[in-house]
């Protein structure tokens, strides 16, 4: 895995505004409709893969034709410190979303810490342009409605690719709406101010995502699968508070195939050989029988 390229998981372009709110609402209804008519696809991670792949191609084309040139121009005319300050500002105005979800999940101490972080950055940090709170030990957290629902035991639902927005899951779609209504800019009420800021937010987010997108382009042999699996794994990781739970290590090392639809379940006809206990692999996929390993000859390539 690359140096920090996946550090923020798969990037998501965040937008605010009524248009997005309406779009998300319509899409959610559409997707819920599709998912509920899907019949026995409940156990599958990506039952909407054909539709998702089309939206993924659409998003990629839109990004290549519009967002990439705009981002190049933006990074050419804005110095790095200014971009960093804008990033802090947009994260800060969106931070009430984290605070609300802290409390909805019952994380009281984290919630209080996040209120302190928000207040400090909004005042001492000049409207959030500077992240002074991190320097005094008030760490940033990642919470949203999707993580709260997961915390409450709601299932993930099917994986989705939303036009203009990117990877998501059905459980996570309410966070699109909640992210808007908890954003400080939503209450400013002056569209002459909020509209250009929203445009800047989108472009700045895209600029921040450039290294991740480049990593996917350069390294993925199937960009759709790479993005989907990376997104889903990263969301699970966030669900565990950004820690790799030891109990889940084995499953996380080799999670079950995400696309049973794409692969016929192959019986494992391989000539597995039993090895002494000390040499047995602890990581097992669904195709590896318990305690049975196929270990190749000594490495060397």
């Amino acid at each position: 895995m690359s140096r920090g390229a996946m550090a923020d998981g798969v990037p998501r372009l965040r937008r605010q505004g009524w248009r997005r709110l309406a779009l998300c609402g319509c899409l959610t209804l559409l997707v819920v409709g599709c998912a509920t008519t899907g019949g026995g696809a409940g156990h599958r991670v990506d039952p909407l893969e054909p539709m998702n792949r089309r939206f993924y191609a659409f998003n990629s084309a839109t990004d290549r034709l519009i967002m990439t040139p705009v981002t190049h121009m933006y990074t050419a005319v804005t110095p790095r410190p200014l971009r960093a300050s804008l990033t802090h500002f947009f994260r800060n105005v969106a931070y009430p979303d984290v605070i609300v979800n802290d409390f909805l999940q019952g994380r009281l101490r984290q919630g209080v810490s996040d209120i302190g972080r928000f207040l400090m950055n909004s005042t001492v940090g000049v409207f959030g342009l500077f992240d002074v709170a991190s320097h005094v030990g008030l760490k940033a957290h990642t919470e949203d409605a999707g993580l709260t629902l997961a915390h409450w035991g709601v299932g993930r639902g099917p994986y989705l690719v939303l036009p203009f927005i990117g990877p998501d899951t059905l459980r996570n779609t309410p966070s699109l709406i909640m992210g808007v209504v908890t954003n400080v800019l939503f209450y400013v009420g002056n569209s002459a101010l909020t509209l250009p800021l929203t445009v800047f937010d989108v472009i700045n987010s895209r600029a921040n995502a450039s290294s991740s997108l480049r990593y996917v382009r350069e390294n993925a042999v199937d960009q759709y699968i790479f993005t989907r699996d990376a997104y889903l794994q990263h969301r699970d990781y966030l669900l565990h508070g950004g820690h790799l739970p030891l109990k889940a290590v084995e499953q996380m090392m080799l999670p079950p195939q995400a696309t049973p639809s794409a692969h016929a379940p192959d019986p494992p006809p391989f000539a597995a050989r039993r090895l002494p206990q000390k040499h047995r692999r602890s990581v097992r996929g669904p195709w590896l029988a318990k305690g049975v390993v196929v270990r190749p000859p000594a490495p060397g390539g």
């Binding site: 920090g4 996946m6 550090a7 998981g9 790799l244 192959d266 006809p269 990581v283």
Partner: protein, 211 residues
């Protein structure tokens, strides 16, 4: 009678404590060699990054290739990435796949770790997991960037410990590769995957020649 009871309880406590101590010492002894493998590998990465812009992609490749071969169980990882298709492939195909997979792994490191701006690796924890494997948790800290967690799963390989998976911010490299490779073999066949991986190596090499 009371004294006997107390002595019995004392003996039980002593036994429990000594067991715990043995377990702690055993774990510390077990994880130390695995931690050393990661420390050596990350030091080599830092060396490649520091020399990065001067020596270019091929220079970094030359530095990293022996370190990657020494620290990663590439043959095992390669086998896992093609999942159930591995036993259906011929020994010649196995050898060809391991060869191209090794090149791709080294090329990816050489392409991504191309310059140095004060980055540091910090080991945060090491645990024995599963059936004798070790998970070494590290952080990549870079000035002005969010910390990235890099967790390495190592397994015994002969007398050594070798990396069998890397998990970056909760995303398993091995799982990502397996999902992609098995999908491509299913749709287009093994030769198509081999061609794709070869073209990836070429792309990384050409794109980064100037870097």
């Amino acid at each position: 009678m009371e004294w006997h009871k107390r002595r019995g309880r004392l003996a039980a406590w002593a036994w429990t404590v000594s067991l715990c101590l043995v377990a702690v010492v055993a774990e510390a002894t077990n994880v130390a060699p695995a931690v050393a493998v990661i420390a050596r590998f990350q030091n080599t990465l830092l060396t490649a990054m520091k020399k990065g812009p001067q020596i270019g992609f091929h220079g970094r490749y030359r530095i990293l290739a022996p370190a990657v071969r020494e620290s990663h169980n590439l043959a095992y990882i390669a086998q896992i990435t093609v999942g159930p298709y591995w036993p259906r492939l011929s020994p010649t195909q196995h050898a060809a796949f391991i060869k191209v997979f090794t090149r791709l792994t080294v090329a990816t490191y050489a392409a991504q770790f191309k310059s140095y701006s004060g980055e540091q690796f910090k080991e945060t924890a090491a645990h024995a997991v599963g059936r004798g494997d070790v998970l070494v948790e590290t952080k990549l800290v870079a000035h002005g960037h969010k910390e990235a967690t890099l967790d390495y799963l190592l397994a015994p390989s002969g007398a050594d410990w070798k990396i069998v998976n890397i998990v970056a911010n909760g995303v398993s490299d091995l799982a990502l590769k397996r999902a992609q490779y098995t999908a491509i073999i299913h749709r287009k066949g093994f030769p198509a995957l081999l061609d794709l991986l070869r073209s990836k190596v070429a792309q990384l090499s050409h794109a980064r020649k100037a870097a």
